[in-house]
Structures are given as C-alpha cells and as structure tokens.
Amino acid sequence: MSHHYEALDRRPVLTPFFLLMVAIAAIGTIFLITRFVAGMGAVANLNGGYPWGVWVIYDIVVGTALACGGYALAVTVYVFNKGRYHPLIRPALLTSLLGYGFAGFGAFVDMGRYWNGYNIFLPWHMNTHAVMLEVGLCVAAYILVLFIEFSPTLLEWLRKQTGWQVRAEAWRKLLDKGLFFFIALGILLPTMHQSSLGSFLIAMGYKVHPLWQTLHLQPLLAVLSAFTMGFAIVIFEGSLVTTGFKRHPETHLFTGLGRIMMGLIAAFLAFRFGYLILMGKVGAMFAFDLGSVMFWIETALFAYPLYVLASPVMRENGKHLLYAAVSMILAGSLYRFDGALITYNPGPGYSYFPALPELIMTVATIATEIALYLFIVKTFPVLPREAHATA
C-alpha cells in the first residue's frame, strides 16, 4: 500500500542518461522499420544453418531468464511465506514485466510470418508435442499475469488522480479477490516455459555441443539456472537503485537471498557435472577447444558466487553480494548463449556472427527497457519507502 511504496516523483524524468537511452531506442527503431519493409536479411546475418541469432537467444532465451526476478521472489514470499522480502517484490515484478514484454515483442520481430502468429492460439493448428507451442502460449499468458500482478501499483497511482478514486478502489477490491490465483499462475508459468527453453535444445540434437546437450536434464538445468538468475537480478537491480538513487541499501535482505542462491547453484553444478560424468563426457571437458574453454569460463562464473556466498563475512557485504550476483547473471546468460549459439554447430558450410544493425536492435531493446523502468519508478509507487526498507 501507499505507506509501503513510493514513487520517486521528486526526481526529474528527463535526465541526460534517460535521453541517451531514448536516442539508442530511436536508432533501433530505424532498423526495426527496415526489417519489416525489406525483410530480416536486410538487418540480420541469419542463414540456413543459423536460423536463430541474437534476437531469439538474447531477447527471448536469455532475456526472459534475466526477467525471472518476479518469479524467484514470488516463490520465496508466497510459497515459502517469507514476508520480509515483500518490499523487493514490486521492482522485481516491474523488471519481469518489462523483460517478458520485450521478449514477446522480440518474438514478434523475429517471427518470419508474423501475420499468421495467431495460429498458435488456434486449437486445430496446435502441435502439443512442440516445445515452441508450450513456450509461445506460456510466455503470452505470463505477460498477462505479470501485468495483473503489477496492476495494484498502477491502481494505487490511479487512486490519487482526481475523479478516479472511487473506481480505483472498486477495481482494487475486485483484484484482491482473485489475486492469489494469479500469483500462483505467476509461479507455475515460468517454471513451465523456463524449463521448455532448455527442452528446445533436445530436438537440435548433435548441433548442440556435447557439454550442453544434456537431453532429459535440459529442462531441469534450464529452470534451476533461470530461478537462480532471478535472485541474482533482484540483488543486482536493488544495488543499482541503491547507488543510482543514493538510497539506503537492502543488504540484510540480499544476504538472505544469497543463501538461497548458494543452495541452487550447488544443485545446478551437482546435476550438470553428475550428468556429464555419468555420460562419459569428461573428455569433452578437457578437449580445450572452443566448447571446453567456454565450459570452464561458465563453471568459474558459477563457482565464484558459490565461493562468496559460502563466506559468512562476504555474504553480508553489499559489494561482495553485488559481485556474486553479477557473476551469476553472466554465468546463467553464458550457459544459454553457449549452448544455443556460441558452440551451436549445424555442420560444415554455415557460420554466424550478428550484423551490426542486428546487434543495435538488441541493444535498443535493452535501452528501451531501462528508459521505461526509470520513467515508471519515477511515476508509480514501485520502490519500497525508505523508512520501511531500513526498518
């Protein structure tokens, strides 16, 4: 409620940084128009062997995992009933909504026959065996659920606008009756499609490097890493907000999240290494080719937060927590990039490196998300009220 959260409405929206983000977004828009007028080939280096480039792998596969903060916190607060993390949930939901919203947008841009896109919702077209169907439906539903989960923030703002108070109150009451169901959905849906983002790799078969092709384990490793990245993103974003807006740190809360992360990373590494060893892939780990080098960089990035969080001193230090979170974010992102793109090999004759306009479009997407985030936290009551956060 209003005494828990505040809009940073005394701060100007149109800062130089904000305008820089808008400028990057504007450049991206030019290429976006080119893509729809001249076709994807005009802006992207996609080809017959690499049909998915940075748009799919960053905007959707990595991007939605980076947007798992809302998911991770929802599980912590509502399943494990840890109410003390409640102040973190609105900013986490906002990043999730933006991340997923733009993943949906990215999917549309990448969709080669977007005017047929609605076919995915028509039962007589559905192929229930297809991972893509599950991801498409589930992500679409989750964007809607995230909007509903975030709507109390919007209603709280609306209530203060003249002439809207009564209606905002009524809608809020209606929302409260069913919100618990949407929160439950908001936990189930990411579990489903985040695991599916791993299952995508099964059907790619030999094109996925042996160190990332874990077949039946794909969904588990994908959802575990996404969930862990969710906690890391909450810590990362919280630290940036603390520094950027010179607010009181929420280190005591992050320490708790860090302890959860520690268990999750240990489980991820145990499952991954266990599988690779059982399947006789130790040789591939030490082949010292591109795959094995990327594998060890990834492993180091997973291991570093484990090392920081295992130390009772370091995990109570805001700076070390931030480093651990950044390392985890890089580890999880690289895990996705490596398997689906960097070591992805469709066979002789094909190679891929993103075109400049293709990269700029992805950067522009990120810039747009940052600009929207700044605008929203300065307009709507998203961030926890200072006194509450330090209580």
């Binding site: 994807m40 969709m111 192929n127 919100l179 790619m204 039946h216 969904p219 302890r259």
Partner: protein, 327 residues
C-alpha cells in the same frame, strides 16, 4: 517455513522432477515407423555424373528461376539449398580430386534435398502443424498459411533442409515436398518426382521405401567389379537399365536407420560424413524431445496439480495480509 525446510522442500521438488524426467526418458515413445505406403528416393552417389538435370527439372516443376552466377544465367549455379533451391548437387573433393568416388585424391557428388525423415524433427517441433507427415505416403509437406515463421523446423532438422527466405519481408519456408504439394501433385497423379524422372543415369531412383531399400541392399551385396544392370526412373517399373561395374560401396544404406530412418536414402563409395551427412545415432531426437514434453504435459496433469497446490499455498500465505498486501 524456516530455511532448513525451504531447502528440504526445494531439493525434494528438484529430485522429484528429475526422477519424473528420468522415468519419462525410459517411457519415451520409440521412433515412428515408416508410413504404410511410404514413397521415397534412392540416390546412389556413384552413379551421379553431376549433370544437374535434376536441379533444372526441380526448378521447372516448382516454378522457381535458376540461380545465376553474376550475369551468367545459362545454367543453375546454386551452391546449396536456399529459399530459391529445393534440390542441389554438391561436389566433395579431397587432395588432387582426380578419381571419382575415391577417398584419397578423389571427388564425389552429393545430392541435397529433403530426406523425408520417417520420424521428422521439423514436424515434431513445429508449433502450428505447418509441417506434416502424410499418414500414407510419409511425404513431409509444408503449409505456408499455417506457418508463423518461427524457424524452429530449421533448428530441428538434422540436415538443415528447411530454408527461410530472409530477403523477402513476407518470406516463407522452402523445402522439397516430393513434387506433391498443392498445384504440383505429381505423386498423386501417378508420376514420379521431377528429379528422378530427369536423372539420366538412375543415380536418383523413385519408388516405395521398401522397394528402394531392397534395391539398395541388393547393390551392397554385389561384389565390387561385377557388372550390374542399374535401373532408371521408378524402381518398381524402370524405364530402362544400363550396365556398369559395381563400385566399392560403403557397407550401410544412409537412411535405413539414421535418426529413425529416411524415405530418401543414399549410397556412397566414400564415408557419408565426407559428403556432409550429420553425426546421427539410430534414435530420433524428435522421440526424445516428445518423450520429455509428454512426461511433463500429458493431459496437462502435472501443471494442473501444481497449480492447485500453489494456489492453496499462496492463498494461505496471503490471507493474513488484510490490507490487500498480496501483490
């Protein structure tokens, strides 16, 4: 719930889902069987002379212009499959490239077009059933009106066959549909595929999968150097034969078993991987992927149970927050 329970529960849930998947892996469906009246082709690389009559005929049948080389349009210069080419002849050379079908200092031709997999990856991964396997003929066809252009078929095809037209803002997927797509329907009319009809040496044979596989195995059983009468056209009713010495074939028919087998099969004198064939086992990736999906989502049983449990937990954990704190 305290931290210890948190971890216990998380670990329990993780182990349970891993166990469910491991069990699902065991129960996963086997590879699909060939369609009852599967039609296909047999490409014998040792018979191919690289004339590309098949490429030219394919373009004619499908109403697609040849790929020029600069200003030169007198022949089709397609180097690989693309949105403009459904069938292509490629050449593999090694060392001096002097001797046909020799592994050292040799060269060999290779035909690339849709293999019409018995258990097709593209069909399995397509979210909107734009790619389908015909229940009787096993022909894998494409419906552009269903296709959303997600290009998952391209990632799921072990042979990189489906090609999207990136240069067209309204592009579509292009792949060989065994000359039987709407408007062409050569197989339905009792004709054979364009490429098989055009092939002067019988390197590309048309026929039922069964008859083609029998023909392929007959060739493998021959002794190198023996004379054999090679049929042209449809293996079940050849237009003509030509006699030729039998080469030293590789000892397997590509497509008999690879990833569940294919309806378009290949024979070669040099190892198949040199001709660009992918490293495949006998199990189709489609069967593994569908096994995982059906374990997790069959009748939506697991998600519904999970949603019930989650709803109960969330309701219980938010009921204390009177002032609408649940958000």
């Amino acid at each position: 719930m305290d931290r210890r329970n948190f971890f216990k529960t998380s670990l329990g849930a993780t182990v349970a889902s891993a166990a469910a998947l491991a069990a699902g892996g065991v129960q996963a469906r086997p590879n699909l069987d060939p369609a009852p009246e599967a039609v296909g082709m047999l490409y014998d690389a040792t018979l191919c002379v690289g004339c590309k009559a098949c490429v030219s005929k394919c373009k004619e049948v499908n109403g697609m212009p040849p790929v020029p080389m600069g200003q030169d349009t007198h022949a089709d210069f397609a180097l690989d499959l693309s949105a403009k080419t459904r069938n292509v002849i490629k050449i593999h050379t090694e060392g001096k490239g002097a001797v046909k079908d020799a592994a050292a200092d040799g060269f060999a031709f290779e035909k690339r077009s849709c293999m019409h997999c018995v258990d097709p990856g593209c069909v399995s991964v397509c979210p909107v059933s734009a790619l389908t396997r015909h229940p009787m003929t096993g022909i894998v066809s494409y419906n552009k009106d269903a296709c959303i252009g997600c290009r998952t078929c391209m990632t799921g095809c072990p042979y990189n066959v489906p090609q999207y037209d990136y240069d067209n803002p309204f592009g579509q997927i292009v792949k060989c549909e065994m000359c039987n797509q709407k408007g062409v329907e050569r197989i339905d009319k009792g004709l054979m595929t364009g490429c098989a009809e055009a092939c002067p040496t019988g390197a590309t044979l048309f026929g039922s999968r069964g008859a083609l596989l029998a023909e392929a195995k007959r060739r493998l059983a021959l002794k190198p150097g023996e004379t054999y009468a090679y049929p042209r056209g449809d293996v079940r009713k050849p237009d003509s034969f030509h006699e030729k010495a039998v080469p030293g074939y590789q000892k397997t028919v590509w497509g008999e078993k690879e990833a569940g087998g294919t309806n378009v099969m290949h024979l070669s004198a040099i190892p198949y991987d040199k001709l660009g064939m992918p490293p495949l086992g006998e199990r189709s990736y489609a069967s593994i992927s569908e096994g995982v999906q059906s374990t997790l989502y069959s009748y939506l049983a697991l998600p519904v149970v999970a949603l019930g449990g989650l709803t109960w937990l969330v309701k219980r954990n938010t009921s204390g927050e009177k002032e609408g704190g649940a958000e």
